[in-house]
Every structure is written in structure tokens, then in C-alpha cells.
Assembly symmetry: C2
Homo-oligomer: 193 residues x 2
DNA sequence: TATTTTTCTTAACCTGCATCAACATAACCT
DNA sequence: AGGTTATGTTGATGCAGGTTAAGAAAAATA
């Protein structure tokens, strides 16, 4: 069960089997059915979770009740509201399963205990945040630089599996456009071919 | 000289005077005149720098030669291309002083040495990256959610000093709009008052 | 001070995407 | 299967901000 998880942690730093077992003890294995809220706006996010199986979205709801999706997470990804979790302050976001989902999660207290026990993990998590930062900056950058059509093309290249798993209007939201706009983009793309 | 710097590092983690002195030894104190490039696209970013004095921009240049400014840094801020620095890969960005600038900078090798010497600093830098992540996510979020006018209003509230130090067309670039658009926004705002 | 260069403003026109609305399909229930 | 709800498509219209261009104002330099 921990195989992919261990590999993910070991990406940047060597960890012995004993060390990994200590890590495992601080995580909880959880399963949630489809459409379960792991976080609602206004709550403090009290987990960082590694996805073993399933699919999760993190999103914002504006005054009109419209969703803006900031992140999709699937197998081998991490999900959390980093700002809310790290600063233990109320979140603006919702985090919700889109499929039956299985994950390994750690709460704030356990994460601190784990750091006390294995200071080496400060490095692991520093590198994880750095990677998250790089991914986010790239997303930010393409959002400014590229057209909606380009962003869609990059999306299907980068996350080909998600097209089948996620309704199209949510992909539109992730891309920062309306469902109608995405529908038209697809239409022009098939015409081009 | 190190006063603000020390305070910045101590924000999250207690560090003794001896520990701080070890840190200082791994940083270089540098001054650069206005319009100096600290990084050019294609190079690997080999520094993380803390600004003692001055003003720096980090930006991208597209095919048409137009700048897109991703970050302004002033006193008590950090500047680097985190993705390029951490992964030691070529950058897409330029980092350039906009005023005579004084900073404390560390290179990749020294940072790793410093971590070996004082593993405690893994935590300090993890927390710094986390904060950078939170700031970036907020910027990303408002970029999607808010109108250009709202973003401008937030900008002048958040960085009131920069209006005097940075030409307006560069602020427009930072906000993701053209200089003409920002000029119009300002005109409508004064009309509203 | 005069002159050049940089920055800012205003106006006319254009475009990508939003909005609104109507309908078409597909998925989900009983 | 038949009805309901969720999702996707297409068209008409609107608007925020882009583009182009020309001139004004301010700053840098001689």
C-alpha cells in the first residue's frame, strides 16, 4: 500500500525502511466516497493528503455560486490548502472528492511530531513545497502568456487521463474560461484538423 | 547590516547568535548599480538573495520582445527563480535591478553546505518557501477572480511605495494588462471620486 | 536651457471570451 | 423504458481589455 508513497518521499532524500515506518505511523489511511467534502471554506485545513486512488478537486465558490477550480489531484499527487494548513488559518476553498478516494493524510500536530522525530523530513517537505511552487508558477505563467486554446492543448497533453474522468465544464473552470468557450475551442480544433 | 535579515530568518524559528553567524558566513554581501542583470533567460539561477536595499524585477520576454513582470522585490524581500535554482535548470526569466541595490546572496553549493552545517535551516527555508507559495497562490487566485481595476486597487494598497519607484507601464505588466488599459483605469477611478 | 528619450494619456477600432438563451445529448434514477 | 437531472453545443449580443496611432508630459542628458 505504501509503495508509491514511499517512492514519492524518496524522490529527493534517502530514507531507510525504519524511517519510512515512522513516517507511516504518523499518517492515517482513509477512504471517502464520491462527493465528500474534505474541506469547506471558512474551516482551517487540517490535513496534507497523498492520493492513493481517486480524484479530488480544490475550488473556490464566488458570490454567484460559481466554482473556480484551482487544482485537480489524482493518484500520486498531494492535496491540501497549503496556506490554510501552514498558517492554521481559515481557508477560502473547498476540497471535494470526485470519485471514491483513498488517501494517506497527516494533520498539523502529527506533522510537527514527525518533524521532531525525524528532522530529516523537514528537507523532504521543503523539496515537496518547492516542487509545488514550481508547478504553480508555471501555471500562473501560462495563464498570463498563453491563449485559452493553447492552455487547453497543454492540459490534454499533461493530464490526458483527466478528460475521461472530469466533466468538461470543470476543465473549463480550471482553464479559467466558461464551458461555452471551451466547447467552441474544441469545435474549432476539430475543424482545423 | 544583518539586523533585518536576522529578524526575517527568526520569524519562524529561533536561532542563536552563533547560528546566525554561521549563516552570515555562507551569504555574500553584494551591491549592484541600477539596470544590472542578476539573471538572464537561458542561464541557471545560482542565487537566492535577500534585499537590503533597492528594487528588483523578475520578468519574462516574449517573442515580440515584450516584458511580462512576475515579481517586484524591495527591501526585506527574497528574490530568485526558485524553479531554476532548486532544480538547477535553465531559467525562462530575467532578474534585473531597477535601482542601485544591495543584497545578501547565497549560491546553491553554499546553501547545501549550510544545510549540512545547520540542519535546523531546512525548517527555516521550508517555511520561507511555504510563505512564497501562499503569496503566489493568492496572486494567481486574484488574477482569475478579480477585474483589472480591483487588482490595481489591491496593488496600491499592498505596495503603496512602489507607485513612486516603478514606472506605471511596468505596474501594468505586473497586473497583466497593457499600459493603456491601466491609464484608462486610473482615469475612470479619478472620475468616480 | 535645449534636446532627446522615456513615460503617460487619449481616441478609434478590434477581438476573445463572457453572458444569455435555446436546444441536444448523455447519464442517472424509479 | 421513461422521466429527470447533468452535461454539452450552438447562436446572438455585449464588454473588458488589446491594438494602433498620435500627441502630451515628464525625465534624462547635453
Amino acid at each position: 500500500m505504501f509503495q508509491a508513497f514511499d517512492k514519492n518521499l524518496r524522490l529527493h532524500v534517502d530514507l531507510s525502511q525504519q524511517e519510512l515506518e515512522i513516517v507511516h505511523q504518523h499518517f492515517q489511511h482513509k477512504t471517502y466516497p464520491k462527493k465528500t467534502f474534505l474541506l469547506k471554506a471558512g474551516q482551517v485545513c487540517n490535513f496534507e493528503a497523498y492520493l492513493l486512488k481517486g480524484c479530488i478537486k480544490r475550488y473556490y465558490i464566488d458570490q454567484n455560486g460559481d466554482e473556480t477550480i484551482l487544482q485537480f489531484a489524482v493518484e500520486d499527487w498531494w492535496v491540501s490548502d497549503i496556506a490554510s494548513f501552514c498558517q492554521q488559518m481559515p481557508s477560502r476553498f473547498y476540497i471535494e472528492t470526485m470519485e471514491d478516494t483513498e488517501l494517506l493524510q497527516i494533520n498539523y500536530q502529527n506533522k510537527e511530531l514527525l518533524f521532531k522525530r525525524l528532522p530529516k523530513l523537514e528537507r523532504v517537505f521543503r523539496l515537496l513545497v518547492q516542487r509545488a511552487y514550481a508547478v504553480l508558477e508555471n501555471r500562473f505563467f501560462t495563464g498570463i502568456t498563453d491563449s485559452a486554446e493553447d492552455r487547453y492543448l497543454q492540459f490534454i497533453k499533461k493530464y490526458p487521463g483527466l478528460l475521461q474522468r472530469v466533466p468538461q465544464y470543470q476543465i473549463a473552470s480550471y482553464l479559467g474560461i466558461t464551458p461555452e468557450a471551451l466547447s467552441r475551442i474544441k469545435a474549432t480544433l476539430t475543424r482545423k484538423k
